[in-house]
């Protein structure tokens, strides 16, 4: 594999040609927050969390292939400002109830908040969505919480590879969620979707918490 030399945050890095900036950074222990990136899947550049500065411009690092002598900065005020705002928007829109969430402890959103030092108490006073969207329990394998879904499309892409897609985006814009239209017997029960979900949107059915769980976020 051809090797390429570039600089990330002042550090000289050697990378493989064809890799994107995000992969290279993570491999070299430089943390770049990301939600919709998953190793082995084609990156979509959708969450925008992985933005970095290249030549003064913000670019999604998962979509930019490394080139020789590239200079990347991941810790400029512009980048930090962008990341913080995007995470805060997400939290205020999230069915935020870690105590009762299946994914707590291995949730990418929690990880990002910890790494970027963002907490509910200290974030700016946005309007909280207080989502009261009911769970979708129609799928035989898992339960889906649209209030926790970040629309990363990892499950959609994972499913496509296995069973030609029984999970899809439905709707448009703010109301977009996952849908499982059609013959559910096409599902191969591979559990790839549940395992690759970065947050607590898709949880296995058998370990669902009791139904008395409140579905309204308590906000701040």
């Amino acid at each position: 594999m051809e090797e390429i030399g570039l600089t990330i945050d002042g550090l000289d890095i050697v990378a493989e040609k064809g890799n994107n900036i995000l992969e290279v950074a993570l491999k070299n222990n430089i943390y770049i927050p990301h939600l919709c990136y998953y190793p082995g899947l084609k990156p979509s550049g959708a969450c925008r969390l992985c933005v970095v500065e290249v030549g003064g411009e913000l670019m999604p690092s998962c979509l930019v292939p490394v080139v020789p002598r590239m200079v990347v900065t991941t810790n400029t005020p512009q980048v930090e400002r962008a990341r913080r705002a995007i995470v805060e928007l997400l939290i205020a829109d999230h069915h935020y109830d870690c105590r009762h969430c299946q994914a707590s402890g291995h949730c990418e959103l929690q990880r990002i908040m910890a790494r970027l030092h963002i907490s509910v108490k200290q974030m700016r006073p946005l309007r909280w969505a207080r989502k009261e969207i009911p769970q979708d329990t129609s799928h035989p394998l898992f339960d889906y919480d649209p209030g926790r879904c970040v629309l990363c499309s990892i499950c959609v892409k994972t499913c496509e590879r296995v069973s030609s897609g029984t999970i899809n985006f439905v709707g448009r814009g703010y109301g977009t969620k996952l849908g499982f239209f059609g013959d559910k017997s096409r599902c191969e029960s591979c559990r790839g979707c549940v395992e690759s979900c970065p947050v607590g949107a898709l949880v296995p059915k058998s370990t669902l918490p009791p139904s008395t769980e409140p579905s309204v976020t308590t906000g701040l």
Binding site: G165, G171, R172, F181, G182, R186
Partner: protein
């Protein structure tokens, strides 16, 4: 009911007979099927998906993206109020409220007797006649709450005549 289903399937096949089954035909097919059925029933989506050779979920996913596609039955009369910029400034939201009161449903809903569906749309393209609304295919411009009240009894009369 079985007869209806047969007829409907026959109509579907008839519509699809003019197409080749290519992916790029999906939206034109959905438009035509909806024009004939009034909306896109689940079984129609499944049929179309199979015709084109894509998973059913994919067909549903595409249909659900576009505002024009109805995935649930519509009322006989479609009332569409324009909420374009010009119409908004000239009082479109008042027009919407007036209609909501008159036929007792909210925007996006259909009356229980399946007579009316009320929707709003971003722009009808008649901005110089704002505020506008469309009932089925007729555009009515320069609307006021009074004119709205006049329009609805008129529609009611049409229903009488049809019977």
């Amino acid at each position: 009911m079985a007869v209806d289903e047969e007829l409907e399937e026959g109509l579907l096949r008839e519509i699809l007979s003019f197409y080749k089954g290519e992916r790029a035909e999906l939206i034109p097919i959905l438009l035509e099927v909806q024009a004939n059925f009034g909306y896109l029933p689940d079984y129609a989506l499944q049929f179309i998906a199979s015709f084109i050779g894509i998973p059913e979920g994919e067909a549903y996913s595409v249909a659900s993206f576009y505002a024009l596609f109805r995935l649930a039955p519509l009322g006989r009369h479609r009332v569409t109020v324009c909420r374009g910029t010009a119409c908004h400034i000239r009082g479109a939201s008042q027009i919407v409220s007036e209609i909501e009161e008159l036929i007792s449903i909210k925007e996006g809903e259909t009356t229980p007797d399946l007579e009316y569906t009320l929707e709003t749309v971003a722009c009808i393209g008649c901005c110089a006649l704002a505020p506008c609304l469309r009932i089925d295919s007729r555009v009515h411009g320069e609307m006021t709450p009074e004119k709205v009240r006049e329009l609805f009894p008129a529609l009611g009369e049409e229903r009488q005549n049809v019977r």
